[in-house]
Amino acid sequence: MQEVQYINSSYAKHARFSHFATAMLTIQAQNDDMLCRFLTQGKKPEGIRKVPPSENDLLIQVGSTKDREAFSNLFIKLGPRVKAYMMKIGTDPAASEEITQETFIRVWRKAEQFNPEKSSAVTWIFTIARNLRIDRLRKDNKPFLDPDDPVFKPDEAPTPLQNVERSTIVERVKGSIVELPEDQQQVVQLSFIEGLSHQEIADAVGIPLGTVKSRLRLSFVKLRQSLGDLQ
């Protein structure tokens, strides 16, 4: 616990955390500590705790050494979101839990195919979850036509952003979403998270189909513009 207290006090001093924030941080640190103990079978890890590894680091570790601890950490970080993502389309919690497990089994099996130069870990896991969610929605045993499937990618022409650091792209995209007008944010959210078709969005929001399409197109134009100078 010594280093936990050290981290707390230095954070608090630095950022002038309120008591509440410090308390939250302590809980978080204790949870992390418990997690560490759990993962190392009760033995407390030695040495000073470093900055927690990012999702990218964890996934790379899983891919290169089949590291179960990294995998468990990844699951603890992203599993609850995958479950929530599954529940968004009306899947019950038990089935969502099951698809989340299936998602991570795929993550485990395919981790060595993850290429941090081409994708970020969160995006990569999102696409696996998305494909499984579609399979669930369609219930017709025809898999989602995954553009990343090598069978569908015969010409490997260089893409405009391939030499750009992934984290830079992710940061730009984040910034661009925040700047979108609310009505565009709404259709983007309904499409990506709720999985609604254009017509379903039109019905849900009460706007014409053409407006749904134009809002999506406008948001994509802004997204592209935000990356424009990188290409």
Partner: protein, 222 residues
């Protein structure tokens, strides 16, 4: 491949979101197989998806969730990293007209299909989908013939697989996609050099039982 016509961004975005039904998905995937530009767009849209995904408030997992998962990964067989070379190598190289994704769907290349005559110079093959929203068909039209009216009561996405056609708007060559809505009235004609084979995906409610070539009914909407 240098292409001039692509699906609109709203379709690409919703494809990346996993929010389009099977028929549209098929059309976009067929185009992506030959269009690096659109694949780059999909990557951007997927990054957007990842960012939105990471903002979802998580749901609590069952207490034994991690244990279960760790047991399962011990039992799971390693991923078969299988790539069917016979499919990817032949792509669009003269031996094969259909992109792999389409061949997988219809179970063969164009000459293996049971084409049905539907009008002068026009053959059709319906692609079986479990899609309540969209219908997909392959059309094979002789050189110089009009593309039959396939009515625009909704969206219509046409991907040229071989040959080319032209309408009032432009010329569409192999790999190009014409993505039009119900407001577009056009009279596509296959160019004189060779027959044209294309994939046409439309909104489902249209009946294609009684097609009348545009040549005879230029303004008719089915």
């Amino acid at each position: 491949m240098n292409l001039n016509h692509h699906p609109h961004d709203d379709l690409l975005m919703s494809y990346a979101a996993g929010a389009v039904s099977e028929g549209w998905s098929l059309a976009v995937a067929a185009h992506l197989a030959v269009c690096a530009e659109c694949r780059a767009s999909i990557q951007i849209a997927e990054t957007l998806g990842g960012v939105l995904f990471s903002d979802i408030p998580g749901e609590q997992m069952a207490p034994d969730s991690l244990d279960h998962l760790l047991t399962k990964i011990d039992q799971s067989a390693p991923e078969e990293n299988f790539v069917d070379r016979s499919l990817s190598d032949q792509h669009m190289d003269g031996n094969s007209i259909l992109p792999p994704v389409l061949r997988k769907y219809v179970g063969g290349d164009v000459d293996d299909l049971p084409w049905k005559y539907i009008g002068p110079g026009v053959q059709q093959h319906m692609i079986e989908l479990a899609d309540p929203i969209a219908r997909a068909r392959l059309l094979r039209i002789k050189a110089g013939k009009p593309v039959p009216c396939h009515g625009h009561r909704g969206r219509e996405v046409t991907m040229v697989l071989s040959g080319s056609y032209s309408d009032e708007i432009s010329r569409f060559r192999a790999g190009d996609v014409q993505d039009v809505d119900e407001e577009t009235v056009h009279r596509p004609m296959v160019d004189e050099e060779q027959e044209c084979i294309c994939l046409v995906v439309t909104d489902a409610p249209i009946s294609f039982q009684h097609w009348i070539p545009r040549l005879f009914q230029p303004m008719m909407k089915i």
